[in-house]
Point group: C2
Chain length 405, copies 2
């Protein structure tokens, strides 16, 4: 059979696998080296007691004939969707209904799968640097076009983010059909302001574009001036899908749960210009190619919306933010130029002497036994930077920073 | 933005939602009606104690810093993959390695997502009648072409299954790139023989086609002459992907876990005729758009491979097979023509007087208060049939059949 040729266009290695490979090689050459991982965005704090208890109860439900749960709704259990609508939106004055919310097994899946519902020749705009999954899934779907000699893709509109614009993507001169924004940003930690998001909503309204707003890190926003949801912006419900995750807020990276908001006020157009509800399309996509997130995990997620659960989320976020602040402060003191680390678990660090990202990665690894993620892996504008994360333990974060001092 | 127009081609309602809607309407008109559900393929037996215990332990792992599990491998935990390779394949004399196996959150997802790796103009061949997800995902991807006046799709090769061929799809005269086979069949309960599968493997080798073998119901095969895996056929590892699920064998419909086998001996060709490993493509697809199944659920699935777990699977299967046999026997006695129900949880029933599927559905519902699935919902060749399932409780199955008597 004939394969999807677009896969062949993808460079061989996914960034994080490449980092892992280099780390493994270093460790095998330096047996006993105490490398502290500050590269990947995986969490370290265990799951909160109220979630653990809820999952034990859910496991017990599965053991009894009367309490057993078979196929759940593909959209997720209504009780969880209602809790999200109330706590994450309505209590913040945002008009989102429970049935606008689709529970998933994680933001990465949804970010990839959303490509199913828009046209295959859509022009996609992406922040550079950005989460590699955006580019890779765009390439796989054929929407990226061809790779140019400079490593860019011919059909992607790149939204350059650099020190000059505070690493925040600005509205482009050209047209795009779909824009993927991430705020707080992975990898730079930059958080978009209300005005910046307003510009994007205006652009999307004007260009009849769709914004996919990845707010997996929204819970890290502590500055009350900064928006946590794109729906805080007027008319965003007419142009934006919002993707969120329990991975970073509650340590669900191994449990797998997230959610995506597709307001019923959001429409696309078919090739003849007819208005089509994106809520209906996504519902059809999910009903046909997905069977809901695990009952046990959804019950666990629901516990996050109790007072105890909300407190645990706040505690987790505080912990990682404190780590990020420690990294930020220490790296600054050591003379590095640093971005992010406020309202974000990510600290974005530039080398002191114009090193490339991979050189900086190597220095950090060999000199300090700290693993980092090379910024260039997130896009060409990330060259010269590395990403450090606040997701390790307090103890390891302090130990790592003591080495820098 | 422009939507994926293929979604608009899909008929409004997914079969099972339509049945659910009609059921709800009937119940609201006949308050207190004791309708016994024999329509959907959801299971009723609770999860086996050894799986429950394993999941409790896994939940506890998540509560401690030292035992917490964050991101797992996208391909699934090796211990589970190894258990599957040994118990489901190697002990049966089939040469499948642990790393040929990809753990997923269910067969439905994989069956839909596999479309990502083959070319968008692939000709897809499907059994009629068949699981609606095959047609619907083919339509969504644009590979189905246009709907013809008779309800067929212009680019799909239909493999007609009817009483004449025992509801088993025969190799077509024409070329197909991708063939989706399901044995034991949903909805007809037909099980393909070794010779029939050999014909398909020969066809695939000759036509350079890919077989996607949906063996979600393989555990129901008790006749030792009938193959449970396509890899029992020589050279199938060069042409076939096999998709399986814990949903029906162990009641995981609400837990969400399945697996897909992509042997490293399986290759497709790119547009220039170069050989490309499908294992590599699927690995890339899963690494980029999926983050692994839930740790807790994978631990539960692993417990199915202990002696106690295997016994529980056998007990579940026995129970549902006994139900299917009861239905089959009773419907036959009552004068219906019946297929399936041996080596399968599904019983495929033809009306006595040439009724259409929906008429038969209505008669079963109104006369006996039994819900069924209209065969025509699975394809035009299903017209005149209904599907009954052995997945209800023993008690309800007997009560339902007493009404028929």
């Amino acid at each position: 059979m004939r394969i999807n040729d677009n896969f062949e266009k993808l460079p061989e290695s996914y960034l994080f696998s490449e980092v892992a490979r280099k780390l493994a090689a270093y460790k095998s050459e330096h047996l006993g080296a105490d490398v502290i991982r500050m590269d990947i965005g995986d969490v370290t704090l265990p799951i909160a007691p109220c979630v653990i208890e809820a999952m034990h109860r859910a496991v017990n439900d599965m053991a009894g004939s009367d309490t057993f749960h078979g196929y759940g709704p593909e959209q997720g259990y209504l009780s969880l969707r209602e809790a999200i609508a109330v706590v994450d939106y309505r209590k913040r004055g945002i008009d989102i209904d429970a049935d606008d919310i689709f529970i998933s097994d994680g933001a990465k899946c949804d970010l990839g799968n959303l490509g199913d519902i828009y046209s295959s020749d859509s022009i996609v705009a992406l922040a550079d640097p950005g989460y590699p999954v955006y580019v890779d899934t765009t390439v796989m779907s054929g929407r990226a076009g061809e790779m140019l000699p400079d490593g860019h893709w011919s059909n992607i509109v790149y939204l350059d983010c650099n020190a000059g614009n505070g690493f925040k993507p600005a509205v482009p001169e050209t047209h795009a059909d779909v824009i993927i924004l991430c705020s707080p940003s992975n990898p730079t930690g930059a958080v978009m302001t209300r005005e910046e998001l307003e510009n994007w909503v205006d652009y999307a309204l004007r260009e009849k574009a769709l914004i996919i707003f990845d707010s997996a890190y929204e819970a890290f926003v502590r500055n009350p001036e900064l928006p946590r949801s794109i729906y805080e912006i007027k008319d965003a419900d007419k142009v934006a899908i919002e993707v969120r995750s329990f991975s970073k807020t509650a340590g669900f990276t191994g449990l797998r749960c997230g959610y995506t908001v597709v307001p019923k006020t959001l429409f696309g157009a078919d090739s003849e210009g007819r208005q089509v509800s994106l809520h209906k399309l996504w519902n059809r996509r999910q009903s046909t190619k997905f069977n809901g997130a695990s009952y046990i995990v959804q019950r666990g997620a629901e516990a996050l919306y109790t007072p105890e659960g909300r407190e645990s989320v706040a505690r987790h976020i505080d912990y990682y933010l404190e780590n990020a602040r420690t990294i930020r402060g220490c790296m600054q003191q050591a003379g590095y130029t640093v971005f992010g680390g406020d309202d974000s678990p990510y600290v974005w660090v530039r080398g002191k002497n114009g090193e490339t990202s991979w050189e900086l990665f190597r220095i950090m690894l060999e000199k300090y036994n700290i693993s980092s993620t090379p910024g260039v892996g997130f896009g060409s504008q990330g060259e010269g930077y590395i990403r450090l994360t606040g997701f390790n333990s307090r103890e390891n974060t302090i130990r790592a920073m003591d080495r820098i001092k």
